[in-house]
Symmetry: C2
Subunit: 222 residues, 2 copies
Amino acid sequence: MKIHDAPGFPNPARIRIVLAEKGLESQVQFVKVDLFAAEHKQSAFLAKNPAGVVPVLELDDGSYISECVAITEYLDNLDGHPILTGKTPRQKAVIHMMQKRADDQLIDAVGIYFHHATPGLGARLLAYKSPEWAHRHEWGQRHRDKFVHGLRYFDSVLRGQPYIAGEQFSMADITVFAALLHGDAAGIAIPDDCAALSAWRANVSRRPSVKNRSGQVMDMAA
Amino acid sequence: MKIHDAPGFPNPARIRIVLAEKGLESQVQFVKVDLFAAEHKQSAFLAKNPAGVVPVLELDDGSYISECVAITEYLDNLDGHPILTGKTPRQKAVIHMMQKRADDQLIDAVGIYFHHATPGLGARLLAYKSPEWAHRHEWGQRHRDKFVHGLRYFDSVLRGQPYIAGEQFSMADITVFAALLHGDAAGIAIPDDCAALSAWRANVSRRPSVKNRSGQVMDMAA
């Protein structure tokens, strides 16, 4: 298998953590995509993923899987023993529910803010974003507010349970953790009164799958 | 089980089709939510689903599952024989990849257009949307364009295979089908040159799970 991604970025970090949790790192070859040069918006990459985002999983038969949830479902189920996407119908449901909330409220919101209301990754990529700066800015600020609102929502969830989808670490925790990395890069901190979210982040940061590669997943924020 | 929804609306239609495909309709009691009165934006409903959207599945123990993907994973896996969300790791991955594309490019896009650039469901609900009409309008139009672009993408997919995720009908087909219902209601037709998408829609419309309830799933467009 190959993963086309860019080390140090939030969505690539999601799959790198999945690979580490599943012990699959040695089975994967990483192919670096130059995001600053907008390589992911050019036709060669769009043939792999028409959405124009990393990461993309390339299977040995040459087919491509994109979208982090889809890649995670694949990797987590390869050995027949899913640990991140749920075993029972209820576990699957709660994990996918919280996963979707994390995507909508955090991942998408901070992405829009970062790319549309800040200089983002620079001029070469900005050419592929909304054409009018003023519009971009207002639209982006709304999504900054949405992200912070989302942080407060997940803080409230974590006041009652140790992980985002309940008692066990899951795909949804990885998504929220990656969104916080993107928040760091965008200059949006966890609000001071979100103690449960901060404690959860410290706990997740100590997992071997995260800790052992913290340099890599933090690069963007540095 | 109970489903809190509004008959005739696109996302509720997704789960009603899932229930019919799985033969589970008789096990569910439907509770109607008054969307025109913005019932789904009030505290009683937000306690069930903080995202403030239908449908919501209420389990017999009183817990709630929201988000169509999560509800579908639950219902499809209840009997241990999933037919809509994939059996193998690759099937799960491709279905979730196409599902996410359908959500991003179609469901979300037409929803934003309908609620932010048209009168949507009327004044009582519009109060919960973006506050400035001019901004709403521009933002909405962009998403109309995104939806039409998405229709062309799925047409291109369907030129090479019978269903959205390959050889078999899946959750991703239901999502695209529901998005087309919302497109009807928003006045956005399938472009004339998207023959594969139109043929696929006619084919899906003939499925018993869709055909036998077409009055219900089409109400909104009427």
